[in-house]
């Protein structure tokens, strides 16, 4: 299930540092107008990276069995189902306007 892997303080500190840097980076990037939806994309990408670091190292998933990966994946996969199919409705609703012709 899970190995009793003990992560070194050095690695933990490095992760912590990276998380802090990314927090500052995302706050800073928010003030720059990147145009279009790029601000959102950048913010979400940084958030995803941060989450990934926490999951892999702080939560020891990197050192865990496949089964753990499956359930971590399942949570996000199902979230994607919920988001993508609902957005399939919301975003395509106006493809067929009320007025025709």
């Amino acid at each position: 299930m899970k190995s009793d892997h003990v992560v070194s303080i050095k690695l933990y500190s490095a992760i912590f540092g990276a998380l802090l840097v990314m927090t500052l980076a995302t706050a800073g990037a928010a003030f720059i107008d990147l145009g279009g939806n790029l601000n959102t994309v950048v913010a979400m990408l940084i958030a995803a990276c941060k989450a990934l670091l926490v999951i892999l190292f702080f939560m020891h998933v990197r050192y865990s069995s496949r089964l753990t990966w499956v359930f971590v994946g399942a949570g996000f996969f199902w979230l994607m189902i919920l988001l993508s199919l609902t957005l399939a409705d919301v975003l395509s609703r106006r493809w067929l306007p009320t007025v025709v012709g």
Binding site: T23, T26, L82, L83
Partner: protein, 216 residues
């Protein structure tokens, strides 16, 4: 120390099986939690795509500096939690207690800052409901934004409060020397929970605080 010397519950064959079950159980629970917050993330996504201007404008009413500081505080608490789990793995009792207390303090600090922000929002009449007032033509959709703000951060704060209660229980137990390098499952599981709550905030921060800063 061999496994057979550790007490395990009657339904398990041995401590190893018990540990496996607990670890898996926590992850299953966290998958549940992803979907619990997921419902709100979905609603947020839909409304933000429908009312982008209003969300950007309303987001600028939040205090980005308090938000950033709070993010750092919570990440710090995750760091100390990870160190607490490490200490437990190594069977180091004193560092374990120390890191748990540090985590508790940082968690409480986060909530303190959060409630300061809430208080400011109450003062500014930005709490949805009959007292809500918002200058400018974007008020109605801005009220939706603040509904999400309070629902999402409120649900998150509730999780934090539960986390603090769990930490307190751990500190008491750790102080009594209940955990060792072979038996530390509760510390590990509370750690997972705490990191999960951290991850939720990692997404809430940009979604709530950083929407419209660049348009100001």
């Amino acid at each position: 120390m061999s496994d057979s010397s550790i007490v395990h519950a009657h339904q398990f064959d041995d401590a190893e099986q018990q540990h496996e079950a607990s670890w898996l159980g926590m992850w299953v629970f966290l998958a549940t939690e992803v979907m619990f917050f997921g419902g709100m993330f979905l609603g947020y996504t839909i409304y933000r795509s429908t009312y982008p201007e209003a969300f950007a404008d309303a987001s600028n009413h939040l205090d980005i500096w308090l938000g950033t500081i709070n993010t750092a505080v919570l990440i710090g608490s995750s760091f100390t939690m990870a160190l607490a789990v490490r200490s437990a793995q190594l069977g180091a009792r004193k560092p374990l207690v120390r890191f748990l207390i540090l985590t508790l303090v940082l968690g409480a600090l986060f909530l303190g800052i959060k409630f300061t922000e809430y208080y400011a929002k109450i003062e500014e009449h930005l709490v949805p409901g009959s007292n809500f007032s918002y200058a400018g033509p974007l008020g109605r959709a801005a009220q939706i934004f603040f509904s999400f703000y309070f629902a999402m951060t409120g649900m998150h704060a509730l999780h934090m409060i539960i986390g603090l209660a769990l930490l307190t229980a751990l500190i008491v137990k750790a102080g009594r020397g209940r955990f060792s390098s072979v038996y530390n499952t509760p510390v590990e599981l509370v750690g997972l929970y705490w990191h999960f709550v951290d991850i939720v905030w990692i997404f809430l921060f940009p979604l709530l605080y950083l929407v419209g800063r660049h348009l100001q």
